[in-house]
């Protein structure tokens, strides 16, 4: 017979931790391992059927998503005699599939894997359009823009996984948004043949960085944070 040192309640013999506070039960006088059959509940755990519904929905959604590309393909082939514009529809549907349904189908979607996959299919789709329409914009424009957007998203993801403080998260988001704008600005300047300096993005980057710094400073001031919470609670 043991009592929880923290709660003062008597604990049933098979308990290893106090169910109320989680304190480990250490009774130097009772070293015998309790009989598992004497536990108040069996070890078998019933599971809610989440997977089945998820799988069912994924299959249904896949079938529904197949309808528009197939209809477009038929119209295209009947009209033009070859695959022309329907290629865009097929590509866009495939992208939507990877963006939405792949993370949904997975029980526990892996965020980094999803991000890498999304980035890859976006690049592939853009490359396909560029190749199909004989455009020269993939390497100088689409590739750097997609990669910088992915980098900004990756930075935000890392920040939200590592850091809990709201003000630090806000600072990181602001900085990432500002830097993404700068990257877009530079890429577009280079592509249009202008000198590689910041134009419009300066007006975004500067306030973003300043606000990020402000929120970093605010994060240090606990008292001020409390005051802000009091004033701006919703």
């Amino acid at each position: 017979m043991s009592y929880c040192v923290n709660c003062g309640v008597e604990l049933e013999a098979s308990l290893k931790r106090c169910p109320l506070c989680g304190t480990e039960v250490i009774n130097p006088n009772e070293r015998s391992v309790p009989d598992p059959a004497a536990r108040p509940f069996p070890s078998k755990v019933e599971l809610l059927e989440r997977r089945a519904a998820r799988r069912f929905f994924t299959v249904m959604a896949t079938l529904m998503l197949l309808i528009p590309p197939i209809v477009c393909l038929i119209c295209d082939v009947l009209g033009a005699g070859a695959i022309t514009w329907s290629a865009y529809v097929i590509g866009a549907t495939a992208m939507a599939y990877v963006y939405v349904l792949v993370p949904f189908a997975a029980e526990k979607p892996h965020p980094w894997l999803c991000l890498a996959l999304d980035c890859a299919v976006t690049l592939l789709f853009l490359y396909a359009i560029a190749a199909h329409s004989a455009g020269d914009w993939f390497l100088p424009l689409a590739l750097p823009l997609t990669l910088s957007a992915a980098a900004a998203l990756a930075a935000a993801l890392l920040l939200f996984r590592k850091c809990r403080a709201k003000f630090v998260r806000l600072a990181g988001l602001l900085a990432a948004a500002g830097l993404l704008c700068a990257a877009i600005d530079l890429t577009v300047s280079l592509y249009t043949g202008r000198s590689p300096v910041l134009y419009w993005s300066l007006f975004v980057l500067a306030p973003c960085l300043i606000l990020a710094l402000v929120s970093l400073v605010l994060n240090k001031r606990v008292q001020f944070k409390e005051e802000m919470r009091r004033r701006f609670f919703i």
């Binding site: 008597e10 604990l11 506070c21 108040p40 078998k44 755990v45 809610l48 989440r50």
Partner: protein, 432 residues
């Protein structure tokens, strides 16, 4: 009763909300169990259940959708008797239960019945369990158990009076508004896999009764008051900004839903749903309460509400909404939507938890020799993360707290308060 009349029945007035409000991951379930002196024999239990069902035709049903209402259709399939699990009261799937809205489980010496609230309430469920255990003991040990009271005789034909809708039978003319303020709620981390934590407090009734009698209140009032104070303390601790003189205005009321067995107040023999509730509680924004103050508040609030007049007016409101002509002709899917919305807006919001005390379970002496323990457990509530059910048997109270979140603040706050008040508590749990 003719065959045709037996083949299907309407849902009773209180049951109508349960099918409409159920979700894939939630159903209003509750569980009653009896622990015997020897391991349970599943084959004998199966035979006992088959006999018991002949006496309880409103259990031998499957729920069906009609054009306008759900209804219960007679079910001939052999009912399932299965091994118990660690996380009880999970929603039932018709295909796993052969259509039945209850399941019988066994583990070691224990027989447990988990019932979807659409069939009956705690009192009706307890009657079912007692009869099932009596049948089991009679078949297993060949003893003869005197029938009467809650232990029904399965050789008797079903009694139509036990199947009537007590609400319809006892409804008056005057209704009463249902509106009231929202209560404080616990919040916490939901278990990803839907695991339900069960913490059982085993309490000697004498010790508790002594404390309650000192204060001149009943056990239910005493425990409700301690529970209210536990929630109050948690709210003040979790929301330090509300717990300041200027922030106190934002402290939410703490109210507890206490189901009331209406059979005590109205002349009906029904064994289907016939319960209502009172929501005693305090306004923490007015200040910090002592136990004596809360005891007095709860006692008087319950005293004011627990009269046939008020209770009658309360359930008459529900009966009148059911009889509303527009609602009646609305197709079932529209009713479902409307009732789901109403349940979402009112249901669990008005109270912090539900505290259901089924009282003392007494058995005939012949049965009591074989039964060491009886328990009552509420399944999780729709939106409140904790629910509390209690039943006393043989001088011991078994108080079960079911919880869907990881944090055990309420259990700790509640049980340590009881210990501090001088009531010894033994804790059991289904912890992983």
């Amino acid at each position: 009763m003719s065959k045709a009349e037996q083949s299907w029945m309407r849902l009773d007035n209180a049951a109508k909300i349960y099918p409409a409000s159920m979700r894939r991951d939630w159903m209003a379930m509750f569980r009653l169990s009896a622990t015997l002196v020897e391991p349970v024999d599943p084959e004998v239990l199966r035979a006992a259940l088959a006999r018991t069902l002949t006496r309880f035709p409103w259990f031998a049903v499957r729920m069906r959708r009609g054009m306008f209402w759900y209804y219960l259709e007679h079910n001939d399939a052999p009912p399932i008797v299965e091994e118990d699990v660690r996380n009880p009261c999970l929603p039932m799937r018709a295909k796993d239960s052969r259509g039945y809205a209850f399941r019988v489980r066994y583990y070691g010496n224990r027989i447990a019945v988990e019932i979807f609230h659409v069939l009956t309430d705690g009192t009706g469920g307890l009657c079912f369990l007692k009869t099932l255990v009596a049948e089991y003991l009679a078949l297993r040990y060949g003893i003869s158990i005197p029938r009467g009271g809650d232990v029904l005789d399965c050789d008797d034909p079903p009694d139509p009076g036990e199947m009537e809708d007590g609400f319809l039978a006892c409804a008056g003319n005057v209704t009463r508004s249902r509106s009231e303020a929202d209560s404080f709620h616990l919040s916490g981390t939901r278990e990803r896999d839907g695991f339900i934590h069960v913490t059982t407090g085993v309490i000697p009734v004498n010790a508790l009764k002594a404390r309650a009698e000192e204060k001149g209140v009943s056990l239910t009032v005493y425990l409700t008051a301690v529970l209210i104070l536990a929630f109050d303390a948690i709210q003040r601790r979790k929301h330090p900004l509300r717990n300041t003189p200027r922030g106190a205005k934002r402290l939410k009321p703490v109210k507890i839903c206490v189901p009331v067995n209406l059979r005590r107040f109205f002349p009906t023999r029904t064994l289907r749903n016939f319960a209502n509730y009172v929501n005693p509680g305090i306004e923490p924004s007015y200040g910090v309460y002592t136990l004596d103050e809360v005891l007095s508040i709860v006692m008087h609030q319950m005293g004011m509400e627990l009269t046939p007049k008020v209770l009658g007016a309360k359930f008459t409101t529900n009966v009148r909404s059911e009889q509303n002509a527009v609602l009646r002709v609305a197709p079932l899917f529209l009713k479902d939507l409307a009732m789901r919305a109403a349940f979402y807006m009112t249901g669990d919001k008005k109270t912090a938890t539900c505290f259901s005390n089924l009282g003392n379970a007494s058995l005939p002496a012949e049965m009591a020799l074989f039964v060491t323990r009886m328990e009552f457990m509420l399944g999780p509530l729709s939106r409140n993360p904790v629910a509390i059910g209690t039943l006393s048997y043989d001088g011991t109270m078994y108080l079960n707290i079911t919880r869907t979140i990881r944090e055990s603040d309420l259990e700790r706050e509640f049980f340590t308060r009881l210990v501090k008040l001088g009531v010894p508590v033994q804790i059991e749990s289904n912890q992983r």
